[in-house]
Amino acid sequence: MSEIEIESRNLDLWYGSAQALKEITMAMPEKKVTAIIGPSGCGKSSFIRCINRMNDLVKDCHITGELLFEGTNIYGNNVDAVELRKKIGMVFQKPNPFPMSIYDNVAYGPRVHGLRNREELDRIVEESLKASALWNEVGDIPDRSAIDLSGGQQQRLCIARTLAVKPKVILFDEPCSALDPISTAKIEDLINTLKHDYTIVIVTHNMQQAARVSDYTAFFLLGELVEFGKTKQIFELPEKKSTEDYITGRFG
């Protein structure tokens, strides 16, 4: 088993007085895909948004326990969430390209982090578009508005935009739920390629997708981690009754 990149220890999360995550303890290995599955409202998004401290933006959200990234508790006192997010990127459920050109979308991160050199930017944009399997489709129209792309292309652009910052971890929160089957297949292929270079955590309510793309799977239910293990084992030989019920489609 490879090194642990992210580890959550006894993580609790409350929205006001409502507890959304209870005692989540699990470890996500480096350069592997960890899928988080479970029925709607079980806390998948809440959990994944802890990893890049996106929940900081939510009023009345508070978190206890530890979340270690490369051994450091990201909820520790001297961790800067802005710096952290350069290393832990995120792709959202609904494609959210900025209302700018394709080029400017991808160059956004590097520019924000101070890069001005045009040649360097050109290189990063090309690299990122190639790595997100979008270069063939948009390489010759970088000045087009990102808004004119199809949903699937927009989502791959959002992946390119994330890659341009050169993160170590990419979080995907149901990246295909707004996409058609062909676009979905493209994103899944992409994830299978990206895992050679990045640690990936993907939330999905689609169990076939989890089975297809992930190495490890965590099953959440009502804010608790029911079961965590190798994907193959979770799908073929679950230990818990509720995991089996969910996977075989008996609820959720």
Binding site: V82, R85, K86, G89, F92, K94, P99, G109, V112
Partner: protein, 282 residues
């Protein structure tokens, strides 16, 4: 109770009535515009636009009033836009939801309700006398700024709030700071809405007489500095008409005023086009 009129008939009746209303509205507008243009056209010559008035405006042109109006609007624009957008950004993006935000918003709303004559008096007491700016472009422009600021703040705030939260999250998730997110993603997305608000405000300001007669003065000389008094176009035409100097000249001035408003609206459309090109098209 069942209606005696068959639905098809009442449908047709409604259509006719709506058509009549729309026609009356359009005709009124066309009649006003047509009347002013027909009355004003005879005096509209190049010399009317490019000369200074003689005999209190009974003869000659209106160049100083045109220049004065532009200068006033420039001061208004240059002060209202940064202050208004700054306040809106604070209210929409930074201020914690709560009592303070609500008090500020309420204050802004009250400011919007103050009659312009009162703002004129305030501008006279505060800008002209207390700050010693005298009757001047500066005093008039700033007084107009007080008048349109609430509009600019409100419309800008609403435009900012209408920017989808997903864009903010997308930017923050790339390691951008809050200010980078606001200035590079949120604000540009809100520009079309903000522009509309600013143009609406300036449109109010351009026709305003009550505010400027107490603050900008009524000099017919060409201004040479911010501290010179000027007579804005609407005030000029008010004086031309009310003092019986020349109705002809008053209508001519009206046409010029209308054209200025038109040009501004076209500029607004151009800006919206430019910034709106990345927005969802259906």
């Amino acid at each position: 109770m069942t209606s005696l009129i068959p639905p098809a008939t009442s449908d047709r009746a409604a259509k006719v009535m709506l058509w009549v209303s729309a026609s009356i509205a359009m005709l009124t507008l066309l009649f006003i515009l047509g009347y002013i243009v027909v009355q004003g056209l005879p005096v509209l010559t190049l010399s009317f636009l490019l000369e200074s008035p003689r005999l209190s405006g009974a003869e000659g042109g209106i160049l100083p009033a045109i220049v004065g109006t532009f200068c006033l609007l420039l001061v208004t624009l240059l002060s209202a836009v940064p202050i208004g957008i700054g306040a809106a950004i604070y209210l929409a993006e930074y201020a914690p939801e709560g009592v303070v935000t609500r008090i500020i918003s309420f204050g802004v709303e009250c400011l919007a309700g103050i009659p312009s004559i009162v703002i004129g008096l305030f501008g006279y007491a505060f800008l002209v006398i207390y700050l010693g700016f005298g009757f001047s472009i500066l005093s008039g422009g700033l007084a107009l700024m007080f008048m349109i600021l609430p509009w600019v703040v409100r419309v800008s705030e609403e435009s900012l709030k209408a920017v989808p939260g997903g864009l903010r999250e997308g930017s923050l998730a790339l390691g951008a700071t809050k200010w980078q997110t606001v200035s590079r993603v949120v604000l540009p997305s809100a520009i079309p809405g903000i522009t509309t608000g600013v143009i609406l405000g300036i449109g109010k300001a351009i026709g305003e007489t009550a505010v400027i007669m107490f603050t900008a003065g009524s000099s017919l000389l060409m201004p040479t500095s911010l501290f010179d008094p000027v007579r804005a176009l609407p005030y000029h035409l008010y004086i031309l008409a009310s003092e019986g100097i020349s109705d002809k000249m008053a209508y001519g001035s009206s046409v010029v005023l209308l054209v200025m408003v038109l040009v501004m609206n076209l500029a607004a459309v151009a800006i919206q086009r430019h910034y709106g090109r990345h927005h969802v098209r259906n």
